[in-house]
């Protein structure tokens, strides 16, 4: 995590730098169906982290040779808009973005019933509008909503959150400052309804006990986010119905 100089104290009187308790999520907002053209879309915010996800598909695959005879191919791109970060991000795809596109795809694959749509593609675009920690897990949470909004059959929603260790304390939903100066950052995504962990990364140092504790905290947080997802979809469904 680097940047030792001027390292701020991250836990004061049991409270975190933004006033949260260790096991407290940031304020979460979810809006489904925000774009006209995309088959499904959602914007999700965890505090100042704000991510747009859009889904097209199942649709024809171009080039054709990429298609699979027994399932839809999932294509996924995670990107940070140039102005989403403190220092302007160059628009050229970074190695980080390439890796995250892969792990996010692998976090969503287990949930999508791609076997129902052979020879098609399902395209997932995740655009980070503003980055303040936890962008990949916020992106997964938004992508799951966009997939549902597109009417793509899923085994369960996928929700994600990053836990971490800061000033020796295991905390939920770390923000950018905690990520930068903390001892560990551990993004986790899961299908809460069926108990399946679909993304798990650790960037930092933990003992075995700390790891178990962090994983349990992440899964508790994910369950809360999952409830918010279901509510957001219900809201969309209700409002659409009302419009009719």
């Amino acid at each position: 995590m680097g940047l030792d100089k001027e390292r701020p104290q991250l836990i004061v009187n049991g409270r975190r730098i933004d006033g949260r308790a260790p096991d407290e999520l940031r304020p979460i907002e979810m809006e489904v169906g925000v774009l006209k053209n995309a088959d499904g879309s959602a914007i999700v915010s965890f505090g100042n982290t704000r991510v747009l996800a859009a889904v097209y598909g199942p649709r024809e695959v171009m080039p054709k040779h990429v298609a699979m005879v027994d399932r839809a191919v999932i294509r996924c791109r995670y990107r940070m808009l140039s102005f989403s970060t403190e220092e302007r991000k160059s628009p050229a795809p970074s190695r980080r973005e390439i890796e995250l596109s892969k792990v996010i795809r692998e976090a969503l694959e287990p949930a999508i019933m791609s076997e129902l749509f052979p020879r098609t593609a399902i395209d997932i675009f995740i655009e980070v509008l503003n980055a303040d920690g936890g962008t990949r897990t916020t992106g997964i949470t938004a992508a799951a909503l966009a997939l549902a909004d597109a009417g793509i059959p899923m085994r369960d929603l996928v929700a994600g959150v990053a836990v971490g260790k800061v000033d020796g304390v295991i905390v939920l939903d770390i923000n950018k400052v905690e990520d930068m100066y903390g001892e560990a950052d551990m993004p986790v995504a899961a299908m809460p309804g069926v108990g399946r962990i679909t993304l798990l990364q650790l960037n930092g140092v933990l003992s075995r006990d700390e790891f178990s504790q962090a994983l349990a905290l992440a899964l508790r947080g994910i369950r809360k986010i999952y409830e918010l997802q279901k509510e957001a979809l219900r809201r969309k469904y209700v409002s659409t119905t009302e419009e009719v």
Binding site: L81, S82, F83
Partner: protein
Amino acid sequence: MSITPEQPVVPKLKYNAILNVLSKGQRIDKRSVYSYRPITVKTNVIPNAEGSALVSVGSTQVIAGVKLEIGQPYADTPNEGVLIVNAEFLPAASPTFEPGPPDENAIELARVVDRSLREPKVIALDKLCIIPGKRVWIVWLDIYVMDHDGNLLDASMLAAMAALASARIPRIVSVDPNTGDVKVNRSVREDRLPINKLVCTVTIAKIGRYLIVDPNLEEEAIANAKLAVSISEDGLIVGMQKMGMGYFTEDEVKSAVGIAMNVAPKLIETLRKAVQS
């Protein structure tokens, strides 16, 4: 290589319907020929950007952000800041957009916006010098099209202008004129980015023999050509770009310019309200 683009398929019936209402001075979405769809401008939507705006024109959505960084001036303008404009059409915005670096349409859009800002000196670049000849503010203006329902240029110009006019400059903590070392505290933003005047573009599409403003996606699909006219708040023409595979007669060009000059003040007013709030 620029290549003839695939023409969107518009059913004959649709085409006739559009032309038919146009012949009565109307649009298929009930607008008059010289009016815009509803416009919304939300500023400061991106906390990490020094300035930002989310603009919708009908269902078209564009987001623009401004990042300010310390850098070197160009050799021929040693005492001026630098403006760099980029535009990208997000693949989320349309089933026909593909991921990848900006294509010729996005590049053209960015360059028209750039010229429309640069020529009338919209930004007071001369006030963005920190150490003459050595250090100036670099103004990165990035435009992303999020949802494409036609007339991307006018929406992009509104978003760009609103993002610039609402931007604030981070605090400079220290300047060492010898080494060129400049320390910035990004968490505190102070003065507004200095803006000399507001500018907008008005895009006129030619369908058959009719001229309309703010074409939506269906109208663009059957338009012969488009003419974008950039107009400043003091009523000057500050840029122009003919787009599309068709042509205009001299008279059509003059009519289009007249229409644009009539419509522009409303757009400027919308901008002014958005950035004052």
